[in-house]
Amino acid sequence: MEALTSGMPFLVFLIIGTIAVAASILVVAMRNPVHSALFLLLTFLCVAVLFVLKAAEFVAAVQVLVYAGGIMVLFLFVVMLINVRSLPEERVMSAFWKGGLAVGLGLFILFAGVVRPGVYHEPKGNERDLRTQTTYRMRKVRNADGTVTERRVGRSRVVGNSEAIGMVLYRDYLVPFEVASLFLLVAMIGAIVIGKRELLAEEEESTPQFILDRAEKEKEVKEVVNGR
């Protein structure tokens, strides 16, 4: 049992990692964007599994919900809006492709070259720190010379990963969190401003048609009443 649990993560990593790489290659290689989108979904799900292996359960959940649930639907929706027949002609393995692949290979070698032991920060603590919530409060402390000073005292408690993240996110990272909310508001405004069908100036200024219709109908009714 011990051997199984210790060997399992690496095995899972190997399988899931291979699927992720294969799926991401297919994302880039597929001609039809619908197929690309589905392989992208597969990549996202694999990456979520990899997050779980590294004790990031909450982020994995967010990955599935936001990426797989939100962004993918958006992509598929747009692909459906756009006529698939008007896909650009692409010559596979043209000189341009070879150049692109060379750039990618060069970048990979560059990035892989710095993956060496001893380069990165020493591992510290243990996995439990990722599930630990620390709360601070000011406490009066009596010093040796009898004076009383206020000191910040932290108290740690092992909770879940989500709870720990929540505490840090809404306390230490409150400012960027609020800025991120502004970002999403701007994204919404932008998508509407750019994506909405352009109205003619008269349409924009004028009263909507259904209100005009209703007014017309009321007028007719009134005339009928008066006519009688």
């Binding site: 560059l110 990035f111 070259g113 710095v114 993956v115 060496r116 380069v119 990165y120 920060h121 510290k124 306390r171 230490d172 990272y173 409150l174 400012v175 960027p176 800025v179 991120a180 502004l182 970002f183 508001l185 701007v186 994204a187 405004i189 932008g190 401003v193 750019i194 352009e198 100036a201 924009e204 200024e205």
Partner: protein, 492 residues
């Protein structure tokens, strides 16, 4: 953090509320009133500027100025940049009015997006943590992508937005990869903690790659040479006031975080990254200024010129000294004033939605409007760095800083390229004074004239009497540069 710290965020909060109000206001009616949108925006900016000044006076010492668990700093450096951003966005607002008078696009969302972009820039100026810097940067960038494509029925504008968006997000991804490597090596994303961790390191490949990727991403944002390909196209395609915004405020915000990250966070590896950045700076100056010579479209010419100016600004960051920091601050003010003035002049010449764009459009401006021809000459001289204007002061600081730090060769390239830049700036002057006039009319919009006059006043005033600016810059530069220069090895 205590709830009292919220006082330091008041400018940003006011700006956000105002930006939302700009969105909601047209729902109440009077959608077409572009005039009132402009004045609301100006009022909002004025209140924000006052709030920035007032909230900065509540800071008593540097330790107190790092707030919200070291996310957000209210120091002299950030206040300086915030006021510059607000002034630049106010100028862009004033420029935009004439542009919107005849168009069928709503000014309300436009100003609101501009206010949100400004909000992102304020957070960038105050950010001392890579997360808060990144989030602020993205807020600004996203607003800029949308604004670049705001004239959406124009193919040019939409294409510009697409190019800007794709290249901008790729550069963000590269920047993030760099940040992740720095996090892996230093164990933190806080600039001060990164600095502390780096002081114990000697040399490190992964860290070097991280710094280079981070620098590459930032060079894209300031439009420095190998990462500049988007600049001419986006500047040409975007609505002209937005081009003015991208070439001034947006660039200044990027240079602010560039300076903050490299001066505060990465100072210990200065020897390693300064040479790479020096190459980038040299390339920017050469490519930008040489390519500008061949351009007939004034938007493209100014785009290439702005690439060259990014190179000059990098000199101040490479030299890594208090002098260099002062140079960055002075040059930002000087460059913004002159560039905004030129864009105001370009907009004055506009006939339709895209006009005043060719160099020929400036022909004979001298006879039609001697004052604006004179102003234009002053702006161009300032960009070229010729003495009676403020540009000279800025370039003096930057070049002196480069020489002090042993980058004499870079200073020589910079001087040579300044001379080259005068060549194409003079082309416009020749067109204005020596060529026969075309029938392009000068706009009589009051707000455009105000922008032009204000920029001219700044350019001439700081050119003749630089003392007030320099005194302000000295205190602002000290906040950031003091740590870098005085205590190179203190692992604080």
């Amino acid at each position: 953090m205590t709830s009292g710290d919220i006082v330091f965020l008041v400018p940003e909060i006011i700006l956000t509320i105002g930006a939302c109000a700009l969105l909601v206001f047209p729902v109440l009616g009077k959608r077409a009133a572009a005039q009132s949108a402009k004045w609301m925006m100006i009022g909002l900016l004025a209140i924000t500027a006052i709030a920035v000044i007032v909230s900065s006076h509540t800071v008593t010492d540097f330790a107190q100025s790092r707030l919200f668990a070291t996310m957000f700093a209210v120091d002299s450096f950030s206040v300086f940049f915030k006021l510059i951003f607000i002034a630049a966005v106010a100028m862009v607002t004033l420029m935009s009015e004439d542009y919107f008078r005849d168009s069928r696009y709503s000014p309300w969302e436009y100003y609101s997006l501009l206010a949100f972009a400004l909000c992102g820039m304020l957070f960038m100026a105050s950010g001392i943590h890579l997360i808060s810097i990144y989030v602020g940067l993205e807020l600004m960038s996203l607003s800029s992508y949308i604004l670049a494509g705001y004239y959406k029925s124009e193919q040019k504008s939409t294409e510009a937005a697409m190019k800007y968006f794709v290249l901008g997000t790729v550069s963000s991804a590269i920047l993030l990869y760099g940040m992740s490597l720095i996090y892996g090596v230093c164990g933190s994303l806080n600039l001060i903690a990164i600095d502390r961790a780096m002081s114990t390191l000697i040399t490190n490949d992964a860290l070097m790659l991280g710094i280079l990727l981070l620098a590459a991403g930032l060079c894209f944002k300031i439009a420095a040479a190998p990462f500049h390909v988007w600049t001419p196209d986006v500047y040409e395609g975007a609505p002209t006031p937005i081009t003015a915004f991208l070439s001034t405020a947006s660039k200044a915000a990027a240079i602010a975080i560039f300076a903050r990250i490299f001066y505060v966070g990465l100072q210990h590896f200065q020897l390693d990254w300064s040479f790479v950045l020096a190459t980038v700076a040299a390339l920017s100056m050469i490519v930008g200024n040489l390519a500008a010579i061949t351009q007939d479209n004034i938007k493209r010419m100014l785009a290439y010129s702005s690439i060259g100016h990014a190179g000059y600004l990098l000199l101040g960051i490479i030299s890594m000294s208090e002098m260099g920091m002062r140079g960055v601050l002075v040059y930002t003010v000087v460059y913004l004033a002159a560039t905004l003035g030129i864009w105001a002049a370009v907009l004055m010449l506009q006939q339709h939605e895209y006009a005043g764009e060719q160099v020929e459009d400036f022909q004979g401006l001298h006879t039609r409007s001697p004052f604006w021809a004179f102003a234009m000459v002053m702006f161009l001289l300032s960009l070229g760095g010729i003495p009676p204007t403020a540009g000279f002061i800025g370039k003096y600081y930057l070049f002196a800083a480069a020489i002090q730090s042993g980058f004499g060769w870079l200073a020589i390239i910079a001087v040579l390229m300044s001379a080259v830049s005068m060549f194409y700036y003079l082309r416009i002057v020749v067109a204005m004074y020596l060529r026969e006039g075309k029938d392009a009319q000068v706009s009589t919009a009051g707000s455009l004239r105000f922008v032009g006059a204000a920029c001219l006043a700044i350019t001439l005033f700081f050119g003749i009497l630089p003392t007030p600016l320099i005194r302000q810059v000295e205190t602002s530069a000290r906040w950031v540069a003091a740590r870098a220069v005085a205590v190179p090895n203190a692992g604080r």
